[in-house]
Amino acid sequence: MKNYLEFEKPIADLHSKISDFSNSDNVNCRKMVQECKLELNRTRKEIFKNLTTWEKVQLARHPDRPYAKDYITSITDDFLQLHGDRLYADDEAIIGGIAKINGKSIMIIGHQKGRNVQENMRCNFGMPHPEGYRKALRLMRMAEKFNLPLITLIDTPGAYPGIGAEERGQAEAIAQNLKVMANLKVPIICIVIGEGGSGGALAIGVGDTLAMLEYTIYSVISPEGCASILWRDASMAPKAAEALKLLAEDLKKLHIIDKVLKEPLGGAHNNPKKIAQTIKKFIISELEKLEKDDLTFLLTKRYNKLREVGEFMENKSLGTF
C-alpha cells in the first residue's frame, strides 16, 4: 500500500487508473495505460516544479521515503550490523555497522525509522535514547581505531524526550558525540536523508562533508514546535517552516551544508534505486577526495568549517541596530 501526500493526489489518481486498466486485456485499455503513464510524468513534473516549502517538509517526512537501512542495503556490500552501547542497551533508533562500498571498508551509522507500528515500537520513530548515541559513539571510536571512514545518514524527528532518556543523560550523550566527532581521526561524510531534527540529528552530524538530499530538512526546532512557541499556534507550522530556512537549498545558500543531492522526479520514494545510486556515487567520489588530505589538514579543515558558522556584528557602529 502506497502513501500519498495531499499534493500527490493527482499522482495517486493516475496510479489507480493505471492499475485498473492494467487488469484488463482489452487493447483500448492497454492504450489507456500508455496515455496515463505519459500523463503521470507530466503531472509529476508540474507538481514538483512548484513545490512550496511546506510540501517539501512533508516530502522529507514521507512515509514511503527510503530509510537508513534501505540505503545501507542498496549502497554497501557485506554490511555487518553491530549492536549495543556496552553500557545499557541496544537502541534500534540508531543502526550501525561495518561494510564495504566499492571495495572499501567503511563504518556506517544512521537514524532508523519504522514502516509500521511494530517497527516503530522498536525503533521509536527514529528518536534515539542516550544508548543509541552511545552505540554510535562506540562505533565511531572503532572506526578511528581501524581507520575506517565514517558515513552517517541523518533522519530523525529529534532525540527522544522521556524519563529514561533524561535519567541516562540524553544531553551528555549528544554533547559527547559532538566533541568526539569534531576530532575523530578518519574522514566523516554526513548526509541528511529525511529529517534533520535538531540536536538529535547533529549528534551524528559533525564531519568533513555535510550533504542533504534535495527534499530534506534540517533545523534547530521543528516547524510545529517553533510555531507553537513563537506564534502560539501549532497550525502556523508552514509559516514557521519558511522562517526557519530549513530546506536543503536554503542551507546551501547559508553555507551550512556543502552539497545538495538532486532527487529523482517525484522524490526519493518514487525511485529509490536511482537516489541510492546518487548517494553511492557521492560517497565514493567524496571519500576519494577526503582520503587525499593528510590527517592534520583534514582535522584543521573540519575545525575551520565549524569555526566559520555564525553571523554577528563586532562593532556597533557598523551594525544596523
Partner: protein, 312 residues
C-alpha cells in the same frame, strides 16, 4: 493520509525553548503579582518556602533564600564579581552583537526582539566572557545571562565562548563556563544549532592541551546548551535546585502523559544519576572552584601565578 509523529515531534521540539517561554511567563506573572501585593523591588517571595523575603537582604545573601537555602537566578555580573578577584576581570568582545543571519520574523522581527532584550537587560547578548583571577589563579571565564532572551545560544554566544576557549588554550589557562540557558536560539535556526558543534569542537582542543574545563550549571540549563558544552566539563558542578535537562519537564509530561516525580531533573536528581560531580552552594562556589583547580593543576595554595603543568 496522516502522519503519525507530528505530535511527538511537536512535543520534542518544544523542549529547546520551552524553558525560555516558561520563565518569561513566570516572570510576567510574578511581576503582575508583585505589582498587586507588595511594593516592587522591596519584597520577594521564595519560590520554594514561599516566605516573604526583604529584597535587600536577599541580594546581600547572593540571591539565596536565608530560610530554606533556595537558589534564585543570579545576575551575570554579580556572578563574575562573586567569583573573580576584585578588579582583575578583563572582558572580551564586549561589543559583539547579534546579526540576523536568516532575517527571521515571527509575530515580531528578530531584530526587534534583540533590541528590546538589549534595552531590558542592558546587555548586548546572552553571555559575558573574559579573563580574570580566581583566588589568584588566572583563568578564562564565561557567564551566561538568562535575562537576555532566556540565555539562548545564537552566533554571538557560540563565537564568544569559542574565542574564550581558544584564547585560554593560547594563554594556557583553565576555563570555567557558568551556564544558564533555555537552549539554542530559534531565530538563528541552523546557525544556532551549529554553535553546539563549534563550541564542543573547541573544547576538544582544550582537552588535547590538557587544560581543565569546569562546567558550572545554574538554573536552568536545558536544550542545546546542556546537550553541548555544559555537559562536557572535566568536572561538572551545579548549584542546588537548578533545572538541568535535555527536554524540559512540561514537554516530557505531555509526551508520556503522566505526572513527573518530585525533583525530576533537578540538580539532586542529576547527581543521583551520575551526570554531575558535585552540588555546590553559591556561597561556596568560589572556594570550591579554587580548591578544584589547584588540586587538578598541582598548584600550591599560596601560589597563584598561573598554570604551570599544562601541556608543555
Amino acid at each position: 493520509m496522516k502522519f503519525c509523529f507530528d505530535l511527538e515531534m511537536l512535543i520534542k521540539d518544544l523542549c529547546l525553548n520551552e524553558e525560555i517561554k516558561m520563565s518569561e511567563n513566570k516572570q510576567e506573572q510574578k511581576s503582575n503579582k508583585e505589582k498587586r501585593s507588595v511594593p516592587l523591588g522591596v519584597w520577594n517571595k521564595c519560590d520554594n518556602c514561599h516566605e516573604i523575603l526583604y529584597a535587600k537582604e536577599l541580594n546581600q545573601n547572593k540571591k539565596v533564600c536565608a530560610i530554606c537555602g533556595y537558589h534564585f537566578k543570579f545576575d551575570a555580573w554579580d556572578r563574575i564579581n562573586l567569583l573573580i578577584d576584585h578588579e582583575t576581570f578583563i572582558e572580551y568582545d564586549h561589543e559583539m552583537t547579534s546579526a540576523d543571519p536568516i532575517k527571521f520574523e515571527d509575530l515580531k522581527m528578530y531584530k526587534d526582539r534583540i533590541k528590546s532584550a538589549m534595552a531590558k537587560s542592558g546587555r548586548k547578548d546572552a553571555v559575558i566572557t573574559g579573563e580574570g583571577k580566581l583566588s589568584g589563579l588566572k583563568l578564562g571565564l564565561g557567564v551566561m545571562d538568562f535575562s537576555f532572551l532566556g540565555g539562548s545560544m545564537g552566533s554571538v554566544v557560540g563565537e564568544k565562548l569559542t574565542r574564550l576557549i581558544e584564547n585560554s588554550i593560547k594563554e594556557k589557562m583553565p576555563v570555567i563556563i557558568v551556564s544558564t540557558s533555555g537552549g539554542a536560539r530559534m531565530q538563528e535556526s541552523m546557525c544556532s544549532l551549529m554553535q553546539m558543534a563549534k563550541v564542543s569542537a573547541t573544547l576538544a582542543k582544550l582537552s588535547e592541551a590538557r587544560l581543565p574545563f569546569i562546567s558550572v550549571l545554574a538554573d536552568p540549563t536545558t536544550g542545546g546548551v546542556s546537550a553541548s558544552f555544559a555537559m562536557l566539563g572535566d568536572i561538572n558542578m551545579a548549584e542546588p535546585n537548578a533545572l538541568i535537562a535535555f527536554a524540559g519537564p512540561r514537554v516530557i509530561e505531555q509526551t508520556i502523559r503522566q505526572k513527573l516525580p518530585e525533583g525530576f531533573q533537578r540538580t539532586e536528581f542529576l547527581k543521583e544519576h551520575g551526570m554531575i560531580d558535585m552540588i555546590v552552594e553559591r556561597e561556596n562556589m568560589k572556594h570550591t572552584l579554587s580548591r578544584t583547580l589547584k588540586i587538578l593543576l598541582n598548584l600550591n595554595y599560596s601560589d597563584g601565578k598561573g598554570v604551570k603543568n599544562a601541556k608543555n
